[in-house]
C-alpha cells in the first residue's frame, strides 16, 4: 500500500503535510488566484470608500449579495432556468454580459442608495465615525433580512450557464473555462478602475478628496459627487464580483456575502487599505495563502492561516503590503 496519503488530522496535534503542498502546488495556486480575484474585486469597494471617507462600509458584503441575486434574476429573465443545458457560443457570451451588467447595475444602485440613506445624513450632521459603523451594521442586517424574507433562507438554485470545460491540466491544476473567465474579467475591471482613478478628471477628484477633503473643496471639487462616485464604483465592482461568484459557485442566498465580505475586507487591510493596487495584491495573496495554509495544515486551518498572515504582515508593515493611501498614490 503506498505510504503517501495525507496524514490524519485528528485532535489538537497539527501535522504539516509538506508533500501535500508540493504535490498540489499548482492546483492550489491556480484555484487560490481564482478565488483571490473575486476577493480583490470586493476589496476595491472597501478600499475606495475608506480612502475617501475614512469609513469601513461593512454593508459592502450586502452590495455584493445584491449582485449575486441580480445575476440570478437576469439569467431567469433570459429564460435560463435550473436544469437547462449550458449555453454555448454567442448565447453564452450574451448571457454572461447581461448577467454581469445587471449585477453591476443593481449593486451600483444599492451602494449609491445606501450612501444617500445611511451615510450622508450622518455626515451632514458631523456625527462621529462610530455612528456610521453602527449604521453600516444596521443596513447590512436590513438588506440580509429583506432578501431572506422575500426569497427564503435556503439557497436558491442557480442554473448552469456555462459548461465547466477543462482547458488544460497544468501540473495538476484544473485550468477551467469558468476560472479563466473570473481571472480575466477581474483583471480587466481592476486595470480599468486603476486607469480611471489615475487618469480621468473624476478620478483626480477622488484622489484630491482622499488627500484632503477641505483643500479639494476649496479647489472646487464637488465632494458630494465624489463620494457618490466612489460608492458607485465600489458597487459596480462588487456587482461584477457577484455575477462571477454566481456563475462559479451557482447559488444565491441572503447571507452569501458574509464569508467573501470578511475575506475581502481582510484582503483590503492586507494590501494596505485605501490603496487600489494594494486591494488587488491583497486579494490574490489572501486567496493563495488560504489554500496553501489549508493544504499544509488541513482544511480547518483555511481561514486561520489567512488571519495569521494578516497579523504577521501588520506587525512588520502596519499599513499593509503596499501601505499607501488612495490620495498619495500616483499623484
Amino acid at each position: 500500500m503506498p505510504a503517501r496519503h495525507p496524514p490524519s488530522r485528528e485532535g489538537c496535534t497539527i501535522h504539516a503535510c509538506f508533500h501535500c503542498l508540493t504535490d498540489q502546488f499548482w492546483a492550489q495556486a491556480f484555484d487560490g488566484l481564482t478565488v483571490g480575484a473575486i476577493y480583490a474585486l470586493i476589496a476595491l469597494g472597501y478600499t475606495l470608500v475608506y480612502g475617501v471617507l475614512r469609513l469601513i462600509n461593512f454593508a459592502h458584503s450586502e452590495v455584493f449579495m445584491v449582485g449575486v441575486f441580480a445575476s440570478l434574476f437576469a439569467a431567469h429573465a433570459l429564460g435560463i432556468h435550473t436544469g437547462d443545458p449550458a449555453k454555448t457560443g454567442f448565447a453564452l457570451v450574451f448571457a454572461i454580459v447581461v448577467m454581469m451588467l445587471a449585477a453591476m447595475a443593481a449593486s451600483g444602485l444599492t451602494a449609491v442608495v445606501m450612501e444617500r440613506v445611511a451615510y450622508r445624513p450622518l455626515r451632514r450632521r458631523k456625527s462621529p465615525r462610530l455612528a456610521a459603523l453602527i449604521t453600516a451594521i444596521g443596513i447590512s442586517l436590513f438588506l440580509q433580512e429583506i432578501f431572506a424574507l422575500r426569497y427564503g433562507r435556503d439557497l436558491l438554485p442557480f442554473p448552469r450557464v456555462m459548461e465547466k470545460h477543462q482547458v488544460v491540466n497544468f501540473h495538476g491544476a484544473d485550468i477551467r473555462t469558468d476560472k479563466l473567465l473570473i481571472l480575466v474579467s477581474a483583471l480587466i475591471l481592476m486595470v480599468a478602475l486603476e486607469r480611471f482613478v489615475a487618469k480621468s478628471r473624476l478620478g483626480r477628484g477622488i484622489r484630491a478628496t482622499a488627500q484632503s477633503p477641505e483643500t479639494a473643496a476649496l479647489m472646487g471639487v464637488n465632494i458630494e459627487r465624489v463620494v457618490v462616485l466612489t460608492f458607485l464604483l465600489g458597487g459596480l465592482l462588487a456587482g461584477a464580483a457577484g455575477a462571477l461568484h454566481g456563475l462559479f459557485y451557482e447559488g444565491a442566498q441572503f447571507n452569501i456575502g458574509f464569508v467573501p465580505g470578511i475575506a475581502a475586507f481582510t484582503a483590503a487591510v492586507l494590501g494596505g487599505i485605501g490603496n487600489i493596487r494594494g486591494a488587488l495584491l491583497g486579494g490574490l495573496v489572501l486567496g493563495l495563502v488560504e489554500n496553501f495554509g489549508g493544504v499544509l495544515f488541513g482544511g480547518q486551518w483555511h481561514a486561520v492561516f489567512a488571519f495569521v498572515i494578516l497579523v504577521v504582515v501588520l506587525l512588520f508593515r502596519p499599513t499593509g503590503l503596499m501601505g499607501e493611501s488612495l490620495g498619495s498614490s500616483r499623484a
Binding site: H5, S8, D174, Q300
Partner: protein, 400 residues
C-alpha cells in the same frame, strides 16, 4: 426642508416601532384548553421540541410539519377530541431547550412531546420528561447513549435506530454492495458532521476499508476547491468520498468534486437527505450521490399511506416532505391515537406508549424496546438520480 424631513423620519420611526409591537402582540398565541363554540370538544396539546430557526431549522420544520399533518388527520376524522401541536423552538441547542422546557413541562395541557430533534437537547431535558411522567417520541435523535442518561427511564422513545446500528448498516453497504477499498472522509467541523465522519471512519476501518485521507471544510463557505484538490491528490484513489455534514454544503461539495473531476462516489448521511442538496448542487451536480439514513423519505410516488402523507404535506406546506417528516407524522400519530383512546393524562398516555406492542406506521413497523429504542434497525439507502432523491431500499435488502 431638513427639519420637516427629520420630523417625518421620526414619526415614521415611531410608527414602524409601534407596528412592530402590535405585530408582536398579534402573534402571541392564545392557548386553548377547550374549543370555543365547538360544542363539547376538548383540545389536547402536544409539544413539538426542536429547531425552527437557525442553521438546523430545515430538519426541525420537517418533523414539526409532519406532526401537524398528523394532527390535521386526527382533527378531520371528527370526534370530540381535538389535537393541537404547539412548537417550541430550541434552535437545536440543549441550553435553549433547558430554558424553554418549563413552558410545556409545567403546563398539564401538554400530554406528550414529539421531539426533541437532536441528541444533545434530548439529553439536556430527558430528566424533566421523566419526573413529569410525560411521554416523548423523538423522530431523529440517534446518539447511542441517550437511554443510559436516565437509567430505567420510561419517557424516552425514538423512531430511528441509534448511531451504532446505523454505522454497522453503512459498513455493510460499503463493503458488501459497493465493495469499496478506499474512502476519503470530509466533515464540516460540526458536532454532528465530525461525529458522523469519524464514526463512519472507525467502523469502516474496523471492516478493513483503507482511509485515503481526511479533510475538513467550513460550512457556509462556498469555496471547497482546496478539498477537491486534496481528494484528487489522495493516494490510493478513493472509491468513496464520505461527507459528514448538512445538505447545503454537501450539495456544493458534491458539485465541485464532480466539476473538478475528483474520483470516488459521493456519500453522506441523514443530514444531507434533503431537496436542498440538489438545489445547492444544481440540476445534475449531485447525481450518483448516495445517502444513507435510518429515516423513510415520503414521496408522492411512494403510494399507499406514505404517498398519501407526502401529497397532504405538499398541499399544506407547498414543500416536499423531507428527512424525518415521516417519523414526525408517526411519532405524533402514536400519541394522538393514545389520547383518542381515552388516555388523557400524562401517566396514562405514557403507559399506553410503553405498552404499544407492534404498531404499523406509514413509514415502517414500530415496536419499542424497554429502554425506548426502536426494535427494527433498518437503514435506507437513497441515490440522487437525475436531480431526484430515489430510495434504493434497505441495506439488508441491498446486501442480501
Amino acid at each position: 426642508m431638513l427639519r420637516i424631513s427629520s420630523r417625518t423620519l421620526r414619526i415614521l420611526g415611531l410608527l414602524s416601532a409601534s407596528a412592530l409591537v402590535l405585530a408582536g402582540c398579534g402573534k402571541s398565541s392564545s392557548s386553548s384548553s377547550a374549543a370555543a363554540g365547538g360544542g363539547a370538544t376538548t383540545t389536547y396539546k402536544l409539544a413539538f421540541v426542536g429547531p425552527l430557526t437557525g442553521p438546523y431549522a430545515a430538519l426541525g420544520l420537517n418533523i414539526k410539519q409532519g406532526a401537524e399533518v398528523a394532527a390535521d388527520d386526527a382533527n378531520n376524522a371528527g370526534g370530540k377530541i381535538k389535537i393541537q401541536v404547539v412548537p417550541f423552538d430550541t434552535q437545536g441547542s440543549g441550553a435553549q431547550a433547558t430554558t424553554l422546557k418549563d413552558n410545556f413541562i409545567n403546563d398539564n395541557g401538554f400530554l406528550g412531546a414529539v421531539g426533541p430533534t437532536f441528541s444533545g437537547e434530548t439529553k439536556a431535558i430527558l430528566k424533566d420528561f421523566e419526573t413529569a411522567h410525560m411521554p416523548m417520541i423523538s423522530a431523529s435523535a440517534t446518539a447511542t447513549d441517550i437511554p443510559s442518561t436516565v437509567p430505567g427511564g420510561k419517557s424516552f422513545h425514538r423512531l430511528v435506530p441509534d448511531d451504532s446500528i446505523q454505522g454497522t448498516g453503512v459498513a455493510d453497504y460499503v463493503t458488501k454492495k459497493l465493495k469499496a477499498k478506499n474512502v476519503f472522509y470530509i466533515n464540516d467541523k460540526s458536532d454532528y458532521g465530525k461525529g458522523l465522519a469519524d464514526d463512519t471512519k472507525k467502523v469502516l476501518e474496523a471492516a478493513n476499508v483503507h482511509t485515503s485521507g481526511t479533510d475538513q471544510v467550513t460550512p457556509g463557505e462556498r469555496n471547497y476547491l482546496q478539498a477537491v484538490n486534496n481528494v484528487k491528490a489522495a493516494t490510493p484513489k478513493p472509491d468513496i468520498v464520505f461527507y459528514g455534514g448538512y445538505y447545503s454544503d454537501a450539495g456544493n461539495l458534491a458539485k465541485q468534486l464532480k466539476d473538478g473531476g475528483a474520483p470516488g462516489v459521493f456519500m453522506s448521511g441523514d443530514g444531507s437527505l434533503d431537496q436542498g442538496l440538489i438545489d445547492s448542487a444544481g440540476a445534475n451536480g449531485a447525481d450518483g450521490a448516495l445517502i444513507t439514513c435510518a429515516c423513510k423519505l415520503a414521496t408522492p410516488e411512494a403510494g399507499g399511506a406514505l404517498g398519501a402523507f407526502a401529497t397532504k404535506y405538499k398541499a399544506k406546506f407547498n414543500k416536499n416532505a423531507g428527512t424525518y417528516s415521516t417519523e414526525g407524522y408517526d411519532a405524533a400519530t402514536i400519541l394522538i391515537k393514545g389520547i383518542k383512546a381515552g388516555n388523557t393524562t400524562r401517566q396514562k398516555l405514557l403507559d399506553y406508549t410503553n405498552s404499544l406492542g407492534t404498531y404499523t406506521g406509514i413509514g415502517k413497523t414500530i415496536e419499542f424496546e424497554a429502554n425506548g429504542n426502536i426494535k427494527a434497525g433498518d437503514v435506507y439507502v437513497y441515490e440522487v438520480k437525475s436531480g431526484k432523491l430515489t430510495e434504493l431500499g434497505t441495506v439488508a435488502s441491498l446486501t442480501s
